[in-house]
Symmetry: C2
Subunit: 509 residues, 2 copies
Amino acid sequence: MQRALDINRSRFADWYQAVVRDADMAETSPVRGAMVIKPWGYGVWEQIQQELDRRIKATGHENCYFPMFIPLSFIAKEAEHVEGFAKEMAIVTHHRLKMIDGKLQPDPEAKLEEPLVVRPTSETIIGDAFARWIKSHRDLPLLINQWANVVRWEMRPRLFLRTTEFLWQEGHTAHATEAEAVEETRKMLEVYRSFAEDVLAMPVVAGEKPENERFPGAVNTYSIEAMMQDGKALQAGTSHFLGTHFAEAQSIKFQNDAGGMDFCNTTSWGVSTRLIGGVIMTHGDDDGLRLPPAIAPRQIVVVPMLRDKPEDTEVLAYCESLVEALGKLSVFGQRVRVLLDLKKIKSAEKRWNWVRRGAPIIIEIGPRDAAGGNITYMRRDTLRDGDKVRSIAVGRQEFIEEKAVQLLAEIQHSLYSEAKARLDANIKSGVTDWAGVESYFSGSDEEFKGWLRISWSKPSGADLEKVDARLKTLKLTIRNAPSQQPDTFAPCLFTGKPGVEEILIARAY
Amino acid sequence: MQRALDINRSRFADWYQAVVRDADMAETSPVRGAMVIKPWGYGVWEQIQQELDRRIKATGHENCYFPMFIPLSFIAKEAEHVEGFAKEMAIVTHHRLKMIDGKLQPDPEAKLEEPLVVRPTSETIIGDAFARWIKSHRDLPLLINQWANVVRWEMRPRLFLRTTEFLWQEGHTAHATEAEAVEETRKMLEVYRSFAEDVLAMPVVAGEKPENERFPGAVNTYSIEAMMQDGKALQAGTSHFLGTHFAEAQSIKFQNDAGGMDFCNTTSWGVSTRLIGGVIMTHGDDDGLRLPPAIAPRQIVVVPMLRDKPEDTEVLAYCESLVEALGKLSVFGQRVRVLLDLKKIKSAEKRWNWVRRGAPIIIEIGPRDAAGGNITYMRRDTLRDGDKVRSIAVGRQEFIEEKAVQLLAEIQHSLYSEAKARLDANIKSGVTDWAGVESYFSGSDEEFKGWLRISWSKPSGADLEKVDARLKTLKLTIRNAPSQQPDTFAPCLFTGKPGVEEILIARAY
């Protein structure tokens, strides 16, 4: 049986584009670098939002909304932050258009005194509010989150992975002590890790970023890193301990128990629509997308096999009662999301649409199923037996009462296990010299490469820059130092000095 | 007992500001005209979003996300649309900042070839996608919605009511026939009407806007209008039939049954964070906000009366088990939202915080309640008996099993009834001449004025402009022609010609 996509994973970048297009997730727009997120793609984002929002609230955070325009002077306050973001921001300079010489253009008389920056992230504008809101230690901790769009100008955009405008959540918190802020930073990293693994079925390695990969203005940056099916790493979420850097730049102070004024310690953390790119590159196969049931906008799709014949009525009625019964079931603490596909296209076309879109269970109902009280289903995670599509027939009652919920849980688990096995099998330890690195990453760029886990002496400043430059010759970066570390270390691969930490090096998105 | 606010409704504009501030809903920001929506205000928006989103999906619409930047040339395509919006848009002209002469500023080398407009609304950018997506009549109707931030430059901003940046949903649909598009426009108006009345407990009059108040580029605009407690009208939602105007400007065409190409008929409709301003001005009283339970982020708040004494432990345990039991109840199809207020401030201060914020039921638990198995509660909708606060004691079990859910439904209903009675009592019919209009709207601006329902001949063009100018002398506008019309009409108040329609005239936000 022909594959649903005409491009397989051996041409990974092309395959990715084909999946995004054929699964109807998103498309490029006439605005350079900004995408249109289509209903099926946005439906995935809504599931992500709902479940992650629940977890962010369960850890004590409240949602707010802050202006998306940031006065230029705010950005200028924190020097490192300027350095990190100044290069890629959209700048509003006028507040009116005017027809001049028959051409619509910015009205010179409506030039802003101070240009406004479209938020690339909101530390500065939220910090300004924190400075007003926080007076005493009784106002701390202050735990805030917002769901918003942000803009970072992208010269080489890719749908979901790197777009000029993207959607995300950004958490911002202020604390009385460094210890509490560090604890918060790590707690939210753990929220991201468990969300990625339990909900997105995307195994990750949580750890600390090296100094040269920190968020501009952060003391420490932590990340979760996921392995895509081409072996490259995807930074899927970050959590930053900002120390008192932003608090000092913005005067975020509180009266301590003794009556004196202290600067707050702050944190920030975020994940974005990039996660959807991660899901696609983790679970997609040669037939298109495979969605973990926990985030599939529709977990079960029912396709009636209609033939413009009298028995169509019976088939439709059978499908409707099936959909109604399935919609009353619960899985992952929510009602099962089920759809009866009534589009006026051929049923074979519907099947392949849902295969490409990655609906976890696709049910096809023909006159014989309806007459015999059966259903025929396909599991998207194990769609084929060799080249043949695997269709499974089962009694209607059995499917509703025993199978449906169990299958969804099984698919969620099997997608995770498959990805976890790939991650574990492709992090290679034991390489101790540069020649070993070169050999591991030799060969064509198209070839699958995993990650190396190596020991280093954690050089800083100029020494780290040297390491970074050397890695760049092989298109490599340090992903993070995993949270789980051994007790003893091999000598540093770069400097030969005693090792103090293990890090992951990889090619990355 | 002293009121919770220091300003009463006789000074309405000041009172509104005080409620927004003291209920901790929102505040102004350092960005001119843009507000910060604080957790309690954003919590209300989340409830609005959740319930309205459910209704928008139930009527067959799917959510998407489109770029917030719109190329200037897109705006220029639809002449009326340009005219209507060109005056108030934020314009992005550069994509990079640079340090020049020690000052951070837009990099002249990063000037955009074509300026980008921050969306004031998305007809043009969504229409561009529609033109790509729609090929044949089988692609119709196309029913899309998005939740987004939009920007319209405001010179006289007011929190929630008129802000430079605001949050909203915008529906955009395309249809094969005019009849279907008109039906969609009316259907969504009805969704807004029932949402406003059933969920926000805010009675409205649905009807059609006069020609001079139409959305730029629309054939017909419909609105729901609500009466605030100062008698002014608030346009709370709009639904537009756009005919083929945008389709022609953007080439949104489909192949009809006969194989020829037809332009689509399109619609758009939206409500925004302005609704929150409407809720405040509909339900607030001299003690602050009163929130309809259906949108209160917390429907029941439990305040433990702690005294730093040994019995505190017992009081707390009693409160915790109460909160747990209440949280298992359901109202309006969802779990009851209940909070145990453990902030480290005095319990009297907590009480007044929740009164000002408008939590529908506030429960106070002291040692005597805990020992006796009772609870003491206040209903926010009927807080006082004269000047005295009404506290009601009832057995814990009775409250949980019989009272709580019933009370929340009762409060929702009583807030609606109160507002509905005010609306009905303050729409005056029977005025037939201009002198009657002048007399009705005479007196100080601070005085409560209702609306007039008058008959007119529906003049158009220059004749309508004359009517409009005359109304402006009294600061009046035509709100809409209510959907419910009588069979016969008095002569036109303005022209003396035979009347064809009744319209509402009022002062408005």
